[in-house]
Amino acid sequence: MSDLVKNIIRLVLFILVQVYVLDKIPHLHRFIVPYLYYLFILWLPFSIPRLGLLALGFLCGLLLDYFKMTPGLHTAACVLVAYARPFIINLLTAKETTEFNYHEPSPRGMGWGPYMVYAFILTLLHHSYLTGLEWLQFGTFLNLLIKILATTAISMLLIFTVELLFPRRMKYRTNTA
């Protein structure tokens, strides 16, 4: 399957799962909102130019926003995640070993440790910005902090589960092929 088709299917699936499964889960607690859809941005291939990444982040957020009737909220957070992604990848991986051997960020390619750190930083960034924007209109600072932490914890749990359930088989790229 080509990259384009694969990622389009992924985007649709992530949005649908977010809107019709994760948002339909009976209310657990006011601090806990399960988010997973932005994993789409985390899973994009290494080779995408930074401008393309920004555009895809914008698109992904906007799609979700129109479903959730909060135009701009998730868009802003997604654009931030898409902008920060290359920096985090540069920090966490040695260019020669992973980026050329593997196609996209994954626990198998980067190792569980660096991958989880990568996911954690971007998750925290996404949730801080999102919750910050939401609570600009409403709420106190302590609530904001608790909500960011709780939501991040839930999201990390979800990402971990997804990575275990759906390991992406990727070819190890070599010069010989």
Binding site: Y20, D23, K24, I25, P26, H27, L28, R30, V33, R50, L51, L54, G57, F58, G61, D65, Y66, F67, K68, M69, T70, P71, G72, L73, T75, A76, V79, L80, Y83, L133, E134, W135, Q137, F138, G139
Partner: protein, 288 residues
Amino acid sequence: MRNVFLFIQRYFVFLVFLILQGIALWMLFSYNRFHQAAFLGIASEVTGTINTRVDKVDDYFHLSEENRRLHRMNDSLLNTLQSNFVKTDTSAKLVTDSTRFDTVAAIRRYLSRDAKVVYNSVNRENNYLQLNRGAVGGIRDNMAVINSAGEAVGVVVNVSPNFSQVMSLLHVKSRVTAAIKKTGDYGTLEWDARDPRLLTLKGIPRNVEVKQGDTVITSVYSYNFPPGFMVGTVAAIQTEKASGFYLLKVRTAVNFNSIQQVFVVENLQRNEQLKLEQDTEQKIEQKK
């Protein structure tokens, strides 16, 4: 000049990032203020169709509860039938006059239309519902929404041709006038974004006698909601220390997790009421 171009070239990605952020934030804040956003009309047509399809499946999981609500509503209507009442005075003959050309003819104030909820959320600070009836079906902004058991749900804030969006009572900006049924004292119903089962009723003075379990209904002073519809029951009684008003926690009658069929109620005299209010204000201003 060359430096400017060099600068743009060097920070092009960052500039694009800032522009996209700007667009997103502009959409967000303009939506929060006016409940209207770019392309939301077209977008809600698309999301509405998908929502309708998903909702068809989702319906089956709430059928029994919905059935029970409907049955109860039917029961309450059945009890109002004229044939239930016996005239003790046998010499009197009951005639129901159906002509409307009487000087004391009733004027219709509220008109309700049925609709189906296709999208609904409870787990955010700003919760909205989406209905499968829009401007083509006669829905306009500010109409009240009640569920199939006649319990207040929210107010329409935005319409597209075939769908409409409702600000649920579970929205931090929702303000609905509600009253204690027993005494008739009214206050403002708000939500503090904590528990989707509890609303807050503010503005009831301390001298009113309120007990736990008292019924809260929509007030006669509301421009949107028809009076007398159930909102919930008083769950806890607190007092605001500063103002000397009660801070009543109201347990909602509606289970916001399982709303399916709703009625959209239009106040046909709303515009007249608003105009009168504005005119009055103007008149008072001029006199000063």
